[in-house]
Symmetry: C2
């Protein structure tokens, strides 16, 4: 195990370096450096690929006595075997080329989005899709695994489009029913009055709230970027946010969301640092943390009561009369174009749209050239409103430009996990709301840290949720939570 | 050549990544990430060491026909052979350990400096000295080369302590004579009146002046750091500066200095990018650029006349009546503790002190425990003033903490080169002062770009200076420049 352990930690350190290049690109990189950055990313990917496909790993794995191994070693062996197998299947040149192309594609996407120019993006997207299909073929060759599922497994080990599809099918009717009941309730939720919220002041408040949720800024930092994200593991976990002078919730809730991701990484047991166990268990589990911080905690009536007070202290009278109105504004349900700004009822419908389209891009039944029209007609049918511009449609998310196919469904999976975790946490912490109302999240974050976050990637995703909640994951708790919360807000009688 | 070229460019890309980790550490890294960063630096150094010592490089180099090769290929083969030989001599574990220890040592030094606590720094410095001595032994083993010279060669290929020592001996009497003549002139140079120069405004002006000297911010950036530095090559060359609210020259002239380094890197021929030729020829040549930008151009009477006007526009009346007084303030000669703030007459005396002490640290005749006392007594004898606190003495520079032994003398060598280049440039550009007086540096920077910067590492340092100036480097032009400038300022009659 010593050889494996040492080799794995050095790989982990290099993966942190490569990840930080991504952070740098999104926050501080000079715009003229894009092409060189592509070469740098490709070179780092080649290094990582060579390490992960190192034949000695295969020998050491074969020699390791998994029967005798302790639980911690078993988990480590599983995770190393996973990346070793993956790297052995994908040619190094393809891995490098993907790193180069996606690094450049990100800039192309950002420019196309700013210019509302789908045509400027499509050739690049075609190339990314082509390379990822090639990779999916390499990953699934000779295995009973669909190419799309091979990609999905990068983000959610063990998941398939079938099991996720079944989960989404179970979820969808409940969401649609809830949405329609809300639309038919006749209740008009208030919106935020027009007011200017100074961006620098938003950032200062976001930084304070990050601390309230337990984010340790001595091992992280908060910067601005086009797309909010969390990056890094161990002692250097950085988050970004963005500001809109008329909508402070964009900044504040994206910060709380990213803090959920970042706190997960910061809470993984220190002895796992830089190893294959020193990171979240999967993207789905990761998203469960970001969503539970953002929604079940951050948008709860109790916490929004405290936040309302802090916003009054910070911004003065911003036209919202009382905490209950504030709570209703923060939880307003309405169809909209943007996934990241969607309410809890609509959010997963955005994800399902992407899930369905990206599967067809990867299986070849949908051409990139037809993507915009397909997106727009599906959107109109799902949401009842038309896409008015590309940045409100196909160009809104960075994911596909950087090759993240198979990633979107983990968002909804994360919401389902968050529902399960929230039910278990509320059962264990009956007085949580009293603490949240004082702006104290420690009880909740400690519960999540102890029951889930500390384990890093030691357990597989479903097993981890079961360990934390006592039950296998299921959609019911999320639906129950949503029905209770929005039933109350909109005075619904739901059967 | 194709194999060599491709291999070299990937190594170059990875070296850029490693260098940017250093930038990150000095500008944006969370303080709690220091230990992990040491592991990351060590892992990157191991990757670079493995690439540079790759046995295939030796085979390809042996097979390359250096006789038939074009000049460009000859230069590339020479540079690759240089790093290959170096990497083969130094054990990979030592290279990694040095990267880890110096990454951590930098933080220890910064804290010790802030606390004025030499004792807190010495154990770390001892370890760095020990590792670098070990490396120097590995580099010089079996060669007719002193260990210190092996380190020096990392920064200045072909230089030895003997040739540099002889050059410094030729320079020193002239500097001492000049300093004494100034002290005996009875002329008191004015100093900057007390005034507050808003740091953010200083930074904005520094950014403007960086542009005036040709620094391309679309391929770079300007940030604050404890120690001003320039970092990176090709399309991503970043500089840092620092601000002092009562002394804007600290910010402005350190910016011009770093811009000299950065413009050199930005002006190297694009076809050399990421290759072993895609960087400055040596640290001495690099310093010639930073010093000529800072001093021969930036502190000239012509340019300071323009700068005076811009500072009046920017800061209003700051208590300096006219451009001539401003010129005298900017060029005031007085002994001081800090190398980076020293005037042009004293600067090289600071370097000579360090050169003499660090040679003894490396040859073992001076123990780290005796360093402070030796520094302080040598300083008192050279400068006639006592060191009043460690941050004004031994702890002022970051260099030794990060293992840069053999680096300091390249500063004085750079001044000597700058003297040669300035004489040749002034001969070719008789009307330069008229342009500088309008804040136009283009004639000068174009001259430097065409005659020197574009070549990158194609030529060896002395050959490059000869190519640019038509003569081998010598100390006389620097001394003549200093005597003319300060003789005029202080009304001296020098024989």
């Amino acid at each position: 195990m010593v050889n494996l352990r040492d080799h794995d930690r050095v790989t982990g350190a290099l993966a942190q370096v490569a990840g930080r290049l991504g952070w740098d690109q999104e926050t501080v990189m000079p715009r003229g450096a894009a092409a060189q950055r592509g070469d740098e990313m490709a070179a780092m990917e080649a290094v990582l690929h060579a390490r992960r496909s190192d034949p000695r790993l295969g020998e050491w794995l074969a020699a390791a006595d998994t029967q005798a191994a302790e639980a911690q070693d078993k988990g480590l062996l599983r995770q190393i075997a996973l990346y070793h197998d993956r790297a052995c299947r994908v040619p190094g040149e393809l891995a490098s080329e993907l790193a180069r192309v996606t690094s450049l594609a990100q800039g192309v996407w950002a420019e196309a989005r700013a210019a509302e120019d789908v045509a400027a993006f499509l050739p690049t997207l075609s190339r990314v899709v082509e390379l990822r299909r090639e990779e999916a073929d390499a990953l699934s060759a000779g295995r009973d695994l669909a190419p799309y599922d091979a990609l999905l497994n990068d983000y959610e080990p063990g998941a398939t489009q079938e099991t996720l599809g079944a989960m989404f099918d179970a979820l969808r009717p409940g969401l649609v029913q809830l949405r329609e009941a809300i639309a038919g309730s006749g209740i008009e939720t208030p919106t935020l009055p027009e007011h200017r919220f100074e961006p620098e002041v938003q950032l200062a408040l976001a930084s304070e709230i990050a601390g309230v949720f337990g984010y340790d800024l001595s091992r992280g930092r908060l910067d601005r970027a086009v797309h909010p994200f969390s990056s890094g593991s161990g002692a250097d976990v950085r988050i970004t946010t963005r500001t809109d002078a008329t909508d402070p919730f964009n900044c504040l809730y994206s910060t709380i969301h990213e803090v959920g991701h970042a706190c997960y990484e910061q809470t993984v047991a220190p002895e796992f640092a830089l190893s294959a166990l020193g990171q979240g268990a999967s993207m789905g589990v990761h998203e469960s943390q970001s969503r539970i911080y953002e929604n079940q905690l951050g948008r709860s009536r109790a916490f929004t009561g405290w936040l309302y007070g802090r916003m009054r202290d910070t911004f003065g009278d911003f036209g919202v009369a009382d905490p209950e109105t504030f709570y209703r504004i923060v939880n307003r349900v309405a169809p909209g174009h943007i996934r990241t700004e969607a309410d809890e009822v609509h959010y997963n419908l955005h994800v399902m749209l992407r899930f369905d389209l990206e599967r067809r891009l990867i299986d070849g039944s949908l051409a990139v050239g037809d993507l915009e029209e397909t997106w727009n007609s599906r959107f109109a049918s799902d949401f009842g409103i038309a896409v008015d511009r590309p940045s409100h449609g196909l160009l809104q998310d960075v994911h596909w430009s950087v090759g993240l196919f198979g990633y979107f469904p983990t968002y909804t999976l994360g919401n389902v996990y968050a529902g399960c975790l929230n039910a278990a946490m509320r059962r264990d912490l009956p007085d949580l709301d009293a603490a949240l109302a004082r702006g104290e999240t420690g009880e909740a974050t400690t519960w999540l840290g102890r029951n889930l976050q500390q384990y890093g990637a030691l357990h597989q995703p479903r097993a981890l949720i079961e360990l934390a909640t006592g039950k296998p994951p299921e959609v019911a708790p999320l639906l129950e939570y949503l029905r209770a919360k929005f039933g109350d807000l909109y005075g619904l009688k739901l059967d």
